[in-house]
C-alpha cells in the first residue's frame, strides 16, 4: 500500500527537521506511542499500541533514518512485530520545503502489513493507515500551533544538530 500527502506546518524548516527526528516529539505525535528510545543519531526503537475497533495489539519496532540530506529530506524506515497479531514494515520519504517562513512537508509512505491482523483486517488496513498518518501530522501541527511549546523543547536538539 502506498499513500502520499502534503502538509503545511507553521514553523521554520530547521525546527520541523529537528522535530521529526526528536524522540520526545515522535512519542507525542505517533498515535498510541508508549515509548521512543534513541539508540544512535540514525536509529530509534519504539513501542506502539495499535487500537482499531476491537483490535488492540502492541507493536515493538525499530526506526532508522536513511538518505539524510539536512534539512531538506530523509527516509524513515521502520519495522515492527506485534506478536500474534502480525508484523508491519514500511518507509516514509519526507521532504521539507520553505514557504513564506513556514514549512511544506510532503510524505510518501509505503507500508506492508502481514500476519493475522492483515488477514482479518484487510478491508480496513488502508483506511486505518491513512487515519494514523493523518493523526500523526495533525498532532505535529498542533505541537507547533500551541504557542511555541515545541520550539522551546527542541532547542537542545537544534543546537546539537548544528
Amino acid at each position: 500500500m502506498e499513500m502520499a500527502n502534503t502538509r503545511r506546518i507553521d514553523a521554520s524548516r530547521e525546527t520541523v527537521w529537528a522535530a521529526i527526528q526528536d524522540p520526545a516529539m515522535l512519542e507525542k505525535c505517533i498515535p498510541g506511542c508508549k515509548e521512543v528510545e534513541k539508540l544512535s543519531d540514525t536509529e530509534m526503537t519504539a513501542v506502539v499500541v495499535l487500537k482499531v475497533g476491537p483490535v488492540k495489539a502492541t507493536f515493538k519496532g525499530k526506526v532508522q533514518f536513511e538518505n539524510v540530506a539536512a534539512p531538506a529530506s530523509l527516509t524513515l524506515v521502520g519495522e515492527g512485530t506485534g506478536g500474534i497479531a502480525g508484523h508491519a514494515k514500511g518507509s516514509a520519504d519526507v521532504e521539507l520545503a520553505e514557504e513564506d517562513g513556514a514549512t511544506v512537508l510532503s510524505y510518501r509512505i509505503k507500508a506492508q502489513i502481514g500476519g493475522r491482523i492483515a488477514q482479518l483486517g484487510a478491508r480496513l488496513i488502508d483506511s486505518t493507515t491513512q487515519k494514523l498518518a493523518a493523526e500523526f501530522f495533525n498532532r505535529l501541527e498542533a505541537e507547533f500551533a500551541e504557542g511555541g511549546d515545541a520550539d522551546t523543547a527542541l532547542e537542545p536538539a537544534l543546537s546539537a544538530a548544528g
Binding site: I84, R116, I117, A122, S127
Partner: protein
C-alpha cells in the same frame, strides 16, 4: 485465546462501577465482534463485563412518536417485531439484513453502534432517522455520535442504554453486501421526514458512516429520480479495498440511493 475474568452485573449501576475499576475491562454485548477478535488473539481484555443481565438495556418499545430499542436488543427481535414493522418498516428490514441468523440472534444494536464498524448497518439507520443515542449519562444526537470509523462520542466507561428513532414519513434501506462477510460494500438509508430528507451511507466512506448532504438537498426540493441524476459522491472520500474499488463504491452509493427512492415511491 487468553484467560479472562467473566462478570455478570445485575443492573446498570453495578456494571458501570465494574467498568470504572480498570482499563483492561471490556463490556460484552452480543460478542459478535469482540469474541472472534479475542479468539484470534487480537484483543485480550482482562475482564469481560456481560451486559446481558441488565434490565435497563433490554427490550424495545414503540410509542406514537418513536421506536426505542434497548441497547441489548438483538437484531432478530427488531426484525421480527410487528410493532416495529408497522411503525418503521425500513428499520425492521435493516435489522433482518444484518449478518446471518447467528449474528442476528446474538448481536445487539448497542454493540453495533458502539463498535461503529465502517461497514455496519445500524449506524446508517441512526443517522438516516436522526436517532438519539441514550447513554447512562446523557442523550447524544446521531449527528454527533459517529466520529469516524470505530470512533464514537462515547467516553471510556460510558454505556449505551437505548436508541430512540423518531418515526418518519417513509424510509428505505438498500444494501449491496459482500456475499462472504455480509457486511455492506455500500448501504444507503433514505428517510423522508416532515422537515426534509436524510440520506445516510455506510460501508463506502473512508471515515465510516456519513450523510450525503448534496443528495439530501436535491431530494428535499424534488423527491424524484430526476433530482439525483447529476449528483455523485466524491470518489476520494470512498473506501477502496480488495472487495471493491473506490469508484465502484461511489457508483454503488448512487445506484442504491436511486433504488431506495424507487422503493419508497412504489410503496406510496
Amino acid at each position: 485465546m487468553n484467560g479472562f475474568a467473566y462478570l455478570t452485573p445485575g443492573d446498570l449501576a453495578e456494571a458501570l462501577a465494574l467498568l470504572r475499576q480498570g482499563d483492561e475491562a471490556s463490556p460484552l454485548a452480543g460478542g459478535q465482534t469482540l469474541v472472534p477478535t479475542m479468539k484470534q488473539g487480537l484483543a485480550a481484555p482482562e475482564t469481560l463485563i456481560d451486559l446481558g443481565g441488565l434490565a435497563e438495556l433490554a427490550g424495545l418499545r414503540v410509542t406514537p412518536t418513536h421506536v426505542e430499542v434497548g441497547a441489548m436488543c438483538p437484531h432478530a427481535v427488531v426484525a421480527a417485531d410487528p410493532e416495529v414493522r408497522a411503525a418503521c418498516p425500513a428499520l425492521a428490514d435493516l435489522a433482518g439484513m444484518i449478518g446471518d441468523a447467528q449474528v442476528r440472534n446474538r448481536g445487539t444494536i448497542g454493540g453495533s453502534i458502539a463498535n461503529n464498524d465502517p461497514a455496519a448497518d445500524y449506524p446508517a439507520a441512526c443517522l438516516g432517522l436522526n436517532a438519539v443515542i441514550r447513554t447512562d449519562r446523557r442523550d447524544i444526537d446521531a449527528d454527533d455520535f459517529f466520529l469516524s470509523m470505530f470512533d464514537t462520542a462515547l467516553e471510556p466507561g460510558e454505556l449505551i442504554v437505548s436508541v430512540a428513532f423518531p418515526r418518519c414519513r417513509e424510509a428505505a434501506y438498500l444494501k449491496f453486501r459482500n456475499p462472504a462477510s455480509r457486511f455492506a460494500l455500500a448501504g444507503v438509508f433514505l428517510a423522508r421526514h416532515e422537515d426534509g430528507v436524510r440520506i445516510a451511507v455506510t460501508g463506502a466512506g473512508t471515515d465510516g458512516v456519513f450523510r450525503w448532504s448534496e443528495a439530501e438537498a436535491a431530494l428535499g426540493r424534488e423527491f424524484t429520480a430526476t433530482a439525483l441524476a447529476g449528483l455523485a459522491v466524491p470518489v476520494e472520500d470512498m473506501l477502496g479495498d480488495l472487495h471493491a474499488a473506490a469508484d465502484y463504491r461511489a457508483h454503488l452509493v448512487k445506484v442504491l440511493t436511486a433504488r431506495a427512492l424507487a422503493a419508497i415511491s412504489q410503496r406510496a
